[in-house]
């Protein structure tokens, strides 16, 4: 097993990559994918804390349960967000968030 710090650093790197993607990408689908990366980085953290701190924190599974919920919520989020993107594309013929500057359809 690798030490906890290494897992955390790796998840931090993944999270930063996700942040970079969210900030630079213009396509809504791409932004969504970057958000997925961030979510996964977070859930790695959750799992790592749960595993490495299990003995120290009274054998609870909170972290893993959270990771599990994150997976589920991410699925819901992706479904919804893609619905919005498809809608956007349909109405404005673009998936580019910079071009969606009207506050109305």
């Amino acid at each position: 097993m690798p030490p906890l710090e290494h897992v955390l650093v790796i998840s931090a790197i993944l999270f930063s990559i996700g942040v970079y993607g969210v900030l630079t990408r213009r396509n809504a689908v791409n932004i969504l994918m970057s958000v997925e990366l961030m979510l996964n980085a977070v859930s790695i953290n959750m799992v790592a804390f749960a595993i490495y701190g299990r003995v120290a924190f009274d054998n609870t599974f909170t972290g893993i349960i959270f990771a599990f919920f994150i997976v589920v919520v991410a699925a819901a989020e992706v479904a919804l967000a893609l619905g919005i993107v498809v809608r956007l594309f349909r109405n404005r013929a673009t998936a580019n968030v910079d071009e969606v500057n009207l506050l109305k359809w």
Binding site: V86, F89, R90, N91, A93
Partner: protein, 383 residues
Amino acid sequence: MTQAQVTVEPVVVEEEFDTVDMNINMGPQHPSTHGVFRMVLTVDGEQVKDVTSYIGYMHRGGEKLTENLDYRGALGYQDRTDYLAAFNNEWVYCNAIERLAGIEAPERAEYVRLILAELNRILSHFMFMGAFGTDVGFFGTAFTWAFKERERIQDFFEAVSGDRLMYNYFRVGGLAWEPYPTFVEDARWLLRQVEAGIADIDELMTNNEIMISRCRDVGRMSAEDAISYGVTGPLLRAAGVPLDLRVDEPYSIYDRFDWEVPTGLRGDVYDRYLVRLEEMRQSVRIVAQALDQMPASGPIMAEGLPKVLKPPPGEIYMRQENPRGEYGIYMVSDGSDKPWRMKVRSPSFHNLSSLRHQVRGSYIADAVIILGSVDIVLCEVDR
């Protein structure tokens, strides 16, 4: 029949922008276009919004060629328009010339012609069953089953005419030669085999749940639309119009037999299949009766035909019921030894022109089976 309500609506492509439309080029090389036919499907996902047909890949100028050959010499070309119903085509062509020139074929020849033409109809419908089964997705089973029977009929035709596809057996005024001695017995045996084959196909396809749900209400065409598109043959009868030229504009000796014209109720793909299946049975009936009535001996060629055929000036639009519908030959004679104008009205051509009407709004898979149910022969479409 309501009057003149059939007008061409403009193409209403939905203005609503659903995702991106995609153009799919189906053909000229595609397993289910039944030849070199190309249709460009504009699809939204799986749904077909519009379809454009491109034909002419097989255009050989058969009409022009016929106009440059003498009446008898062009007979061989007629086999090649609809190669699945070559006897029927030859018959129409011979009949057209005979009517133009005032020749009457002897009765025995007429019987042989009718028997062969009806068997050819069965053959063609078997071909349809096979190809249509493949379109619907019977991985080759329908095809091989139907082809087994088709092979039998072809063997018979080979025995009669010496060829399996381009028979060139009919002549203006009769037949090329006497049918071989056991013609009648062989034909009877063949009929029994064919009847069993029809029953097999029926059992395999008709009541199959998937087949039904695939074909029911797909490609529906109302009688008015079908008539307006010039659709004839099984397609039109499936739409409920009992137009069969063997009955409605009788030619040859069809009035001597007892048979029925099947018509469908809904005009969908399934009805077309059923109509064709029933037509095969009716053809078997006709052939059986014709075999019984056929004179055992007699001339097979009209007497006193000139060596060079020069029908008097005049014109005829000779039409007969081919397996695919009304096959017409419009022939104009100027008194010389070559037809001045020969136009083939091919049923496939006009049936195919209704494809767009049927396909729009259905699924890609439906487009395939609708095209299959139209049962085109591309050689005939393009001529």
